[in-house]
Symmetry: C2
Subunit: 290 residues, 2 copies
């Protein structure tokens, strides 16, 4: 999908957030934001893909600031918080052990979205996280292709599960364990730090590598850019019978390709451009076969 | 006061909002936003004053788009809605007729802030407006210099009341009527269209000119720029014993001057940079003698 005019607001907000992680000095923050405005102007336009525009802007910011991983602290915090919160719903999870498999699958998809929902940013409070988690788990999937996914899981053998953010991957782990009951699963994380996206470091921290083979996309790209992916990633992308892609960045970028196999997108529609593209409301939770 | 690094987000948001009023065509919207990013980069920096930065950016947008008054429709809507909502609290207002004068003054200050609070933008609903109005009227003033204002009203003779937005001026009218019980009042609106600020057209529409002499600042400036004000405005600014300034734009800009007479700022702290400068929380309602 392509950006909408209002995506200018979101990318500037991201830059300000990142810059505040890079330096606590306002003078430095002003310089970095100002310089990055030129970069935004260069990549902003009706043909831009949101995730790829973000890649260019965040790479530019990393280069001019000399900070290779501005979100490192936030990612660490997200991983820790996610692991703590997962403990608090262990009992709930156990209840689903004896439920019908489709129901259990749907619950774990919602759990994976909850990981995508939770804002582990510096201003979120515990109360917020608890509430958002609960809302997502108890709410409905606005687009619910869990039945189709369930059928495909029984029909096919190999899944490539494309992860999104740090923290969130702790919740993905639960869904991946469920998927493994049906198929061989390989998970991918980013090949280098970009935004708050999960890298190999995060996958190891939350123990994702203990339950599934984890590969990287090869590069620091938001979402997926098939022209800028490692051979290993492209091989697994080709080999997989089913692609499962988490989060908006993967949706924004993979919808630029025609993919000749079942692809499932799991995310919360967090902004109006994405929600409109899908045909849902902002805030809706989605499991979409595309 | 000066801008903070995050003010980049707000000015871009304003530009996107304005551009959507100027054209419904996305291609045009993209071009206008893109072009205005250069202007923002030029005026953005640690020495920029929020209101004046806004002036430069909104003037640039008016020039390149050829639209002299992008917010005209929104201002019309704001005026109409404000007049309707004022009717709904007529009974409440009557109750204050026999209350102690200080209490009545404080209530009408809160009413004037309610006008500043209400978002008459295209996405606000009636429910929102009712709720926000009620919250402001029933809530406290976080900084409450109403006692000082009350004393000054009895001590002095002449007030210059500097208005802020369209719509909001309907509520200012009520406070101005109260102030007239003590002093001679002159009200000022903008000399030309800028953002959703009230102009002479709005003052006439809501009948502000029926209760008070209304002058203009002379130019299309957000807040006040004493170097760019009409002789008439400067004369009244000089002659007044008390200045009452509504809204954040007037606060942001007038705090750049040392003013040798009592000045009262009436506004809701809608963003973190302003709230921090004042030493309050975002959302707090303020009647501040500066």
């Amino acid at each position: 999908m392509k950006i909408k005019p209002e995506c200018a607001i979101c990318i500037v907000r991201q830059v300000v957030d990142a810059v505040k992680e890079i330096s606590k000095e306002e003078e430095v923050q002003f310089k970095l934001v100002s310089s990055t405005l030129s970069c935004i102007k260069e990549v902003y336009g009706p043909d831009a893909v949101p995730a790829w525009m973000g890649t260019k802007v965040h790479r530019y910011l990393k280069r001019i600031s000399g900070n290779k991983d501005p979100y490192r602290c936030l990612k660490d915090r997200a991983n820790k918080l996610a692991m703590e919160y997962l403990k608090s719903i262990e009992e709930d999870l156990k209840k689903y052990k004896d439920k019908p498999p489709l129901e259990r699958l749907r619950y774990k998809v919602k759990l994976a979205i909850a990981g995508n929902v939770i804002d582990f940013g510096p201003y979120s409070t515990d109360v917020d996280i608890d509430r958002k988690l609960k809302e997502t788990l108890e709410g409905e999937l606005k687009i619910d292709h869990s039945r189709e996914l369930f059928q495909d899981l029984k029909k096919y053998n190999k899944i490539l599960y494309i992860c999104d953010n740090a923290g969130e991957i702790t919740f993905d782990k639960i869904l991946i364990e469920e998927l493994k009951e049906y198929c061989e699963v390989i998970a991918s994380v980013k090949g280098g730090p970009i935004l708050n996206d999960a890298t190999l470091e995060d996958a190891k921290y939350v123990g994702l590598d203990k339950v599934v083979k984890v590969i990287t996309t090869g590069y620091d790209v938001i979402g997926i850019d098939l022209e800028e992916s490692s051979e290993e990633f492209l091989r697994e992308f080709e080999r997989a019978d089913i692609i499962i892609a988490k989060g908006m960045g993967n949706f924004e970028s993979l919808t630029e390709y025609s993919i000749d196999k079942p692809i499932y997108y799991i995310f919360k529609a967090k902004c109006s451009p994405v929600a409109q593209f899908v045909g849902v409301e902002v805030g809706d939770n989605i499991l979409l076969k595309y």
